[in-house]
């Protein structure tokens, strides 16, 4: 299965291209997908996206197709149409006031 992964936001210093394609199996989980991305772009990427406990960082939102997801451990094809790929948004906690 080919999955197009797009990164948006405060991650560009680590992922100098906003998109890449991964060939992987149907049963790949988001966690495994992020592992593959970290192998490609460095451990700092994993640190940016995940907490020390391995949960999704609060400023990260991931969409599989059109569906927002918080579960890193389900297969990403789980009931979703993957034609639009996986979008990873890293939001910035810019100050208010």
């Amino acid at each position: 299965m080919r999955i197009e992964v797009s990164f948006y936001g405060f991650v560009r210093d680590l992922v100098n291209t906003s998109k890449f394609v991964i060939d992987t199996s149907d049963k790949t989980t988001l966690r495994e997908l992020l592992d593959l991305a970290a192998q490609r772009h460095g451990e700092k990427l994993r640190e940016r996206l995940l907490s020390a406990k391995g949960d999704l960082a609060p400023n990260v939102q991931i969409f599989v197709g059109e569906h927002a997801t918080t579960s890193l451990d389900e297969p990403i094809d789980h009931g979703h149409d993957l034609c639009t790929g996986v979008k990873v948004f890293v939001l910035s906690a810019t100050a208010g006031g």
Binding site: Y8, V11, N16, Q61, A93, G96, G97
Partner: protein
């Protein structure tokens, strides 16, 4: 004007953009020229009222000193009063230069881009945030608010009220205890509407008690003014809490049991006792004599008091821990700290307790709701100190103890809960509970909300907010880190600043120190005027003012009144941009195309504006700014309520439901009266700071309030015998409006607006008389500023008070830069982490000064 010469005579609905209150306007345009601005009575935000700034907007529109063409500096040397040597350039050259810089930075390290903004550009700042997010930088600073930002107050807004700001329930409140906020006068949120509502509340019998060092524009309208030493409000509040729970034995037990973490069991280590399986906090059920998970359906009652043995460990409900903690804070303890007599504190506590009417109910919209008609307000005055986190905690607990949070008569979030426009259900947000049962905001204007607690990380941003995630507002650390990022472990330096109207040199602290942090940065300013901070700019772009631009985000969470109706407005150009002025949003859209980041930018717009099909932006085509605004309105309010509808009608409103305004009784989310997670967070911050090698005092991360002295309280240098404070004026917004001739005229009629308020008796001891020039020297910065003495009995004898952000020096502001047009308070305030409340990164804003009659009296 002769009527036969009139070809056009229009009243155009729009909104004021001269502060964050978003008052609705009707702008009278005749033959293409704006001749009058009035309040729009259709809007419940301001109910037809405007403040002096709103009326005077016409002068800013046609001001001959406005920036009308792009400029570039020719003098490479930068400094506070170094002439940049402005040279006019074309928009094309400006955009080419900016795009080339941005392209290089984005390729190199996008974190090197900073964006600074302010309240008069608050409709443009969110869009610019989308731009900076898509660009890939985490760095932004709302520096126009600077030290005026509510910072820690906003933190508690999130933790206790699910909202950025709060207001008393003006429909039902009977006792407003106001610690130094401008509510009901000339500042704080929804100023004009609230001034009317507070006036009406007083007519129906609400008592307004102002605790304030100065008889400020708000305090002068109160029933009672209690002068207090600056920065000691927490001591007053702690003593009131002591009287409530120890002397009067007053608390809303039902509220504490069901809506706070008051019953959660606290172990000897100061942390929650948690159950073995789910790891959720335990409470004690006194009927069954057993500890149970807080959400167990088997609970028969919640213990608030006592000591219990749970699996061999001793545990006390959080309320008991709080009550014991309050034991030493008697009014007699508070008297020498606050200078307020113990008898006064006791009397106020008693009045507050009686008016809270604990146990009473009221029927609204057919629903029986608790009736607690007391509200405690505070903002920058009480909060802007080095003890901000713990002071705000003490003040907030007054509301929580009597159960007057988000119920009729009490303190209301602005706006914690929105069920949306009836036809679409949008926008919608509702506070919810986390696993520990504590409240997470339904909506928060920046991202992410302060709770649940975030991981402490090595600081990747230039404002220290990775390391200290409890700062919700303008970080007082930014100029410190920016001046020496390596010391803080930040692996890059800011190379470029996109400045959206913020005059940060005059709104934060010592302008020299702030300028040092910014002078090596390539700065692009979108500016109305060539103010002081544009002296550090490399390119200045002529910005369209709020009367010349279109916006989709004029309204925001706290621009709607807490009660009454929901009101959404349009901000539309009432004249075409004059000369070469352009809207920031339109320029950003052009930069998006130049940088080829349309796909990312649109993805953020779709995500953050929640644009769903068919209104989501399609990255295969380019949208104009007005198309994006149209999509936003239609996505929220339906196909029939697009931009054209808003341009014509100006206002869309509908009544608020009782469960939106008074949402707490039906919410299952609890709020803390014991801030358990602050303790462990502080330990993590300390460990991380030690690892980086930054000496940080993290001792204020604690679960219960106390009063701690600020630097000013411990400063005893001979001759420095006054506390200097600043306050907001109803007729100026930070530093941005001082060149307006009408506002100047108003300020000249009021000796306090441009002068220095000083206690008459204290002044005469120094030989100072009304109108004398005086010199004020800061013990912390060594700087001296000059102003005319305005003698009054309405100020604490140890205090001088300076209004707003005057004292301009830019040669391009010919009205504001004259001597005697106010003082720049910031020269007195040092930049440095020892002047900042570490947990909230709040900049202290009071300082010890020496005051003397000036030798030069002209």
């Amino acid at each position: 004007m002769q009527t036969e010469n009139v070809q056009e005579d229009l009243w155009i609905p729009t909104t004021c953009g001269l502060c964050y209150s978003v008052c609705a306007l009707k702008v009278h345009r005749v033959n293409g020229t704006v001749i009058k601005i009035e309040g729009n009575p259709e809007s419940s935000t301001n109910r037809g009222r405007l403040c002096p700034r709103g009326v005077s907007g016409i002068m800013a529109l046609y001001d001959p000193n406005r920036v009308n063409v792009p400029l570039k500096r020719t003098n490479p040397k930068k400094g506070l009063d170094v002439d940049p040597g402005w040279k006019e350039i074309t928009w094309e050259e400006a955009i080419d230069t900016i795009a080339a810089r941005l392209r290089k930075i984005r390729h190199d390290d996008p974190r090197k881009l900073l964006m600074t903004g302010t309240v008069t550009t608050q409709d443009e700042v969110p869009f610019a945030r989308f731009f900076t997010m898509a660009f890939g930088t985490p760095n932004g600073w709302n520096s126009g608010a600077g030290n005026h930002c509510g910072t820690a107050e906003h933190l508690y807004g999130a933790l206790l009220h699910a909202s950025w700001a709060k207001q008393p329930d003006s429909d039902h409140c009977r006792y407003l205890l106001n610690f130094g906020s401008g509510v009901g006068s000339g500042s704080y949120y929804t100023v004009t509407g609230m001034a009317q509502r507070i006036a009406e509340a007083r007519l129906r019998g609400m008592k307004h008690v102002a605790v304030d060092p100065f008889l400020s524009p708000s305090a002068e309208k109160a029933d009672e003014w209690i002068p207090i030493r600056p920065g000691t409000d927490a001591a007053f509040a702690l003593a009131m809490l002591h009287v409530l729970v120890h002397e009067l034995k007053v608390c809303d037990a039902d509220y504490l049991k069901h809506h706070t973490n008051g019953p959660y069991l606290i172990g000897d280590d100061g942390l929650y006792l948690r159950d073995e399986t789910e790891k959720v906090p335990l409470i004690w059920d006194p009927v069954d004599g057993a500890a149970k998970p807080f959400h167990s359906p088997e609970i028969k009652d919640f213990a608030l008091e006592g000591v219990y043995a749970v699996d061999g460990a001793s545990a006390r409900p959080a309320f008991t821990v709080l009550k014991e903690h309050l034991t030493p804070f008697t009014p007699e303890w508070a008297e020498p700290i606050t200078t307020v007599s113990a008898a006064t504190i006791r009397r106020v506590a008693k009045e507050f307790a009686e008016e809270a009417r604990i146990g009473s109910t009221v029927v609204i919209d057919g629903k029986v709701l608790p009736y607690r008609p007391v509200a405690v307000m505070y903002f920058k005055g009480a909060q802007g100190h080095k003890n901000a986190l713990l002071s705000c905690m003490a003040l907030e607990l007054l509301t929580e103890i009597v159960g007057s949070s988000n119920v009729p008569g009490g303190l209301l979030g602005m706006n914690s809960c929105s069920l949306g426009y009836p036809e679409t259900g949008q926008p919608s947000w509702i506070p919810k509970a986390d696993r520990d049962g504590l409240m997470i905001t339904g909506y928060w204007p920046t991202f992410p909300p302060p709770y649940p607690p975030k991981e402490v990380r090595a600081t990747e941003t230039i404002d220290l907010r990775g390391l200290i995630p409890t700062c919700p507002g303008s970080s007082g650390a930014l100029p410190v880190v920016m001046a020496d990022p390596k010391r803080f472990g930040v692996p890059y330096q800011i190379e470029m600043n996109l400045q959206l109207g913020s005059n940060y040199l005059m709104t934060f602290a010592n302008p020299e120190a702030v300028a040092r942090a910014f002078q090596d940065v390539f700065q692009v300013s979108f500016a109305l005027f060539l103010d002081e901070s544009t002296y550090l700019s490399d390119i200045v772009l002529p910005a369209a003012s709020y009367l010349e631009r279109l916006s989709h985000t004029a309204d925001w969470m706290s621009s709607n009144s807490a009660v009454g109706e929901w009101c959404y407005h349009v901000r539309q150009p009432v004249v075409d941009p004059i000369a070469e002025r352009r809207s920031v949003c339109e320029v950003l859209l052009e930069l998006v195309e130049r940088l080829e980041m349309r796909e990312e930018f649109y993805a953020f717009i779709n995500l953050l504006l929640k644009l769903k099909e068919p209104y989501a932006l399609d990255p295969t085509r380019r949208y104009s700014w007005s198309e994006i605004v149209d999509h936003r309105y239609k996505s929220l309010f339906g196909e029939a309520r697009g931009l054209e509808w808003f341009k014509k009608h100006g206002v869309l409103k509908w009544p608020k439901q009782a469960e939106e305004v008074y949402w707490k009784p039906s919410s299952t989310a609890r709020v803390p009266i014991y801030f358990e997670w602050f303790k462990s967070l502080g330990e993590k911050v300390k460990a991380q700071a030690d690892e980086i090698g930054i000496p940080l005092d993290t001792s204020a991360f604690q679960p219960l309030p106390e009063w701690r002295p600020c630097r000013a309280h411990e400063e005893n240098s001979p001759g420095y015998d006054f506390h200097a404070i600043y306050y907001k004026l109803p007729m100026q917004t930070f530093s941005g409006t001082y060149d307006n001739p009408w506002l100047d005229e108003v300020c000249q009629t009021n000796p306090f607006a441009y002068g220095v308020a000083i206690n008459a008796a204290a002044a005469r001891l120094k030989g100072i008389e009304e109108g004398d020039w005086i010199e004020i020297t800061s013990v912390s910065t060594g700087h001296t500023i000059r102003g005319r003495a305005a003698l009054t009995e309405g100020i604490h004898p140890e205090v001088i008070a300076i209004a707003g952000c005057g004292g301009h020096w830019s040669k391009y502001l010919p009205i504001a830069n004259q001597e005697g047009k106010g003082l720049c308070f910031e020269w007195l305030m040092p930049v440095g982490l020892d002047n900042v409340d570490i947990p909230s990164l709040t900049q202290d804003s009071c300082v010890k000064v020496r005051v003397a009659k000036a030798k030069e009296q002209t």
